[in-house]
Symmetry: C2
Subunit: 316 residues, 2 copies
């Protein structure tokens, strides 16, 4: 197991400080009444490029040596990592090559373009994505920056929990959603160093529950054909994130789709925050398991705010 060291996380915090927001922790009394817990929401929906992914992407891009950096970075992603990596590369004045399925929504394509990412389209299969990325790298010499199975990314994501522990003491539970596990394993590492008595609990959609199955099954079992509205959480754990999660996470709670939508609407309506479905998954888990959280001081990460405003999930 490769766990980022404390000094590496601290170094990442300093490295990315000029490129990211220090996001606030917000509380909401009506949600506290609803759940019986004291919940602190870390607003990564306010983060640069709209998601915590800017932390990892900036850490990866700005820790590259000048020789490698000059040839650019590359990834396959149609989500927040693509935008965050494009933005981070632009800040370092290097190129970001983004492989996207040709079926990606126009809004996501445009967001990557807006940050200066250079897009290569591929077929919407993992095989085509990986092969196209290999091609792009062979032609350009760019360095691959994987969205989560990369120690620099994972270390960057750990800075989010570091800020939470700076702002708030005596946290009983810290929660994140889990997709590839970059945010979750980074959070677990930061917790180990900064607040070892805090329990790390992940929340995962039932329709994309590879982390849950792998965690309780004792071996890595990737998702086959995952389905969830939380499109940031369709990915499976990686070889780097799974061992950390297995060792340092207390529990993984699975949630129903209807509860993700309900939790998302509560956050919009009560907190007046635009969050994407993935960001609502931890609150959905609390709402499904109120007895476990009642009376606790719980911090949770609102992972991103890049919701599709033309297609709200509660609209028929």
């Amino acid at each position: 197991m490769t766990l980022p060291r404390l000094n590496e996380i601290e170094e990442a915090s300093r490295r990315i400080a000029p490129c990211i927001h220090r996001t606030p922790l917000l509380v909401n009394e009506s949600i506290n009444r609803m759940t019986g817990a004291r919940i602190y929401f870390k607003c990564e929906n306010f983060q640069k490029a709209g998601a915590f992914k800017s932390r990892g992407a900036c850490n990866a891009v700005f820790s590259m040596d000048p020789g490698h950096a000059a040839k650019g970075v590359a990834t396959h992603s149609s989500g927040n990592h693509a935008q965050a990596l494009s933005r981070a590369a632009a800040l370092r004045h290097i190129k970001a090559y983004i492989v996207m399925p040709r079926t990606a929504p126009l809004v996501k394509v445009n967001a990557v373009k807006e940050y200066g990412g250079l897009i290569t389209f591929c077929e919407p299969t993992l095989e085509s994505r990986e092969n196209t990325l290999k091609e792009v790298i062979r032609h350009t010499g760019a360095s691959e920056i994987h969205p989560y199975n990369d120690l620099r990314i994972l270390t960057g994501q750990a800075t989010c929990a570091m800020e939470i522990y700076e702002d708030l003491k005596d946290i009983d539970i810290i929660m994140t959603p889990v997709g590839g596990g970059g945010l979750l394993s980074g959070t677990a590492a930061a917790t180990l160093y900064r607040s070892p008595r805090t329990r790390v609990i992940a929340a995962e959609p039932r329709g994309a529950d590879d982390a849950y199955r792998s965690f309780y099954g004792g071996r890595f079992m990737p998702s086959v054909n995952p389905q969830t509205i939380a499109d940031g959480l369709l990915t499976s754990l990686g070889s780097l994130t799974y061992p950390i999660i297995k060792e340092h996470v207390s529990d993984i709670l699975r949630v129903e789709e209807a509860h993700i939508i309900l939790a998302m609407r509560i956050i919009w309506e009560r907190m007046k925050l635009v969050v994407e479905p993935s960001a609502a998954v931890p609150l959905a888990a609390i709402l499904e398991n109120t007895e476990r959280f009642r009376g606790s001081k719980t911090a949770l990460v609102l992972s991103g705010g890049n919701a599709d405003l033309d297609h709200l999930p509660w609209k028929q």
Copy 2:
């Protein structure tokens, strides 16, 4: 002209402090790039009951003497004032009698009920609203708290700009939307005392432009059949607010409906904030008049966040 005195506004700030949020000022780089101005958004969408109206309502309710307070408060409103007054009354453990047209959306009726307001329904005409309110007051002995034409309300709304001037120096322009003018005249008073060189500019929907016409026509001309998506701004100025606005406001800018919707969407998409249409009117005015704002340091009030999540204006 009755202008609240500085010590009255300061007293209101102290009086309402336990009942309201001190809301943050947020900035957004992409909106600054878009407009060429430095814009500071005062987030009253995060305010208790979802709008700045909680300031005036709390000031009015908590400045009543015990004898009058015991009989409760009353108003006719289907909007944010009704919710804010119901909440303020509940905090003082007195009754709030709310007269609402029977056509009011269920979501607004339920919001008032949730805060403990006692609703009397009437016909959806001003005459019926006023007569029903008189009846309610005759039966209950409650004190009428008008949504804006009341010095206690106006003084409460002035506390919003006081906070802005505490947090931010050297503001060139301060902007609010204008409906009945409570927020605008309160802002003008606070500006006079705290930052006299700051220009107070109001923004108003073209379809409900009584403030513009009254301001430039030199006499009070209420709206007849106003039409705008910014449903918080359908009301006309009052006898208390008009003279203050005439004397202490620099300009009133009218905006197109399409630009209100565009500005609202920009705030949701870029700032990840849920705001109601009325709150987007000042940004719409900046977008329509970028040359006037370019290079300026402008503070504007995001007046509220009680948007109807089931009916977004950009949805066909």
